[in-house]
Amino acid sequence: MHDKQVRRRRAVLALLVAVSLILLSAYFGESEGGPLHGVQRGIVAVLSPIQQGASTVLSPVRDVAGFFSSTFHAKNEVAQLSKANQELRFQVAELKGSEIQNEQLSHLVKLDNDIGINSYRPVSAHVIGSDPSLWYDQIEVDAGRDQGVRTNQPVIGDDGLVGLVTDVTSGDSIVTLITDHTIEVTAEVEDGVGDVGVLQPSIGNPNELVLSDLPHDANIVAAQQVVTAGFHSGNLDSLYPPNIPIGVVSSVNPVTLASSGQVQVSPVVDLRHLDVVQILTKPQAGSTRASTVP
């Protein structure tokens, strides 16, 4: 009797492990259009209304918890923001002058650089789900194919770039955040010459990104803004429009910059507390200048 129980227990365990390994191998090996991906998308489509309802019902709980969590960090943030505010005031004064000069020059060369983020046909969406894992940084939003959303469309938050649409069903989408290990963004540092590098997440540290492949002699200092580069090369267009803010250079180690062309970047968007995002459904709107500032 006991032997039978032991055998049954081991058989169940072996069967479950085998099924998991088969699923893992099959999913990892198949393309995005494979049957397992299709089943997954179907399940997401079926469950999204439930998730949407649960998100609405549980939003007061989330808000209360978020309030206490935010208050905890508020004191530190006040000091940091006061310092940043002071620096930004100087930058605004400087940029005002440049803006006037830019407008005058644009009129001269007949270029219209006054088109903002609206030219990318943004679609607003609420966050209805979030991933708790340290390895996958994804959110689920309540806008999908029916609203014109497609895969590989960029997503922005209040202050800047959030991520990329990686999966779409009829009514909702999965957005992979810029802190996910599968995402890389070509980014430009606003250091006067526009040094370009590849922005990658630093796994395990959601508040930091690594901008690598920079020129070794780049003149980059802390607090410089990092924006999307939005390159265009032949038929190849960047997935992200140019000049969407991503973050600010948080620290520069001259030795690391010279040897491996890397600097640390802090994202400007609080990716852990997203409520509403905008999906840019027409990211290739021409050589326009994006701006998240109204």
Partner: protein, 201 residues
């Protein structure tokens, strides 16, 4: 050990609700910079209450649901949660720990296994991005946060599936051995008969 349909329905509903609440609310609440993760705690609780086979089955099902809902690589979370459910169940079957803080310790261990296991599998599958040492800190913080909520989660799971838990013959045998099959309060009156004052002296 026979399993009633009521037990199956309760366990399925519990797993489904836990994943929905996790994704829709808990994942969006940041404590010490990390999110609590209900799923390994629920799997651990079911294992501790219902044994290794049920724990492993719950781990597989809940892991699969997590992977499906969050559009992750299928099978990864299942693999980890099978281990959590199975070993929690084995702990109950081999040791039958009665201390009230057991779920806290097992919950911390389950979260640690989930965090470290996920890191190992991701490394095996290949990671292109740089990995920060802060990942270790994040895993430890998640273990800490989950330890704080392990007891309430265990209590909720016990309340949810407790009434329909299958009777464990091993536990019944032990009760018979220690108490004669009855509550210790009943034992003197029924087992020994009435005790007179003179006899007790």
């Amino acid at each position: 050990m026979s399993v009633s349909p009521s037990f199956v329905i309760r366990v399925l509903a519990l797993g489904f609700l836990a994943v929905v609440i996790q994704v829709a609310a808990v994942s969006q609440i940041s404590i010490f910079g990390v999110n609590a993760d209900l799923s390994p705690l629920v799997v651990m609780s079911v294992g501790l209450l219902a044994g290794s086979i049920t724990g492993a089955l719950m781990g597989f099902g809940m892991g699969l649901l997590v992977d499906l809902v969050l559009v992750q690589t299928l099978g990864v979370t299942s693999l980890l949660y099978i281990a959590i459910g199975y070993w929690s169940g084995r702990l109950r079957e081999l040791r039958d720990p009665a201390h009230g803080l057991v779920p806290l310790g097992v919950g911390a261990a389950a979260t640690g296994v989930a965090g470290i296991g996920m890191a190992l599998i991701q490394f095996l599958l290949g990671v292109d991005a740089p990995v920060s040492l802060l990942l270790v800190q994040q895993i430890l913080l998640t273990v800490l946060v989950n330890s704080l909520i392990a007891l309430p989660v265990y209590a909720v799971v016990r309340r949810a599936i407790g009434p329909s838990l299958p009777d464990d013959p091993r536990r019944r045998r032990r009760r018979r051995y220690t108490t004669g099959g009855l509550s210790p309060l009943q034992r003197p009156s029924s087992g020994l008969g009435p005790v007179t004052r003179a006899a007790s002296k």
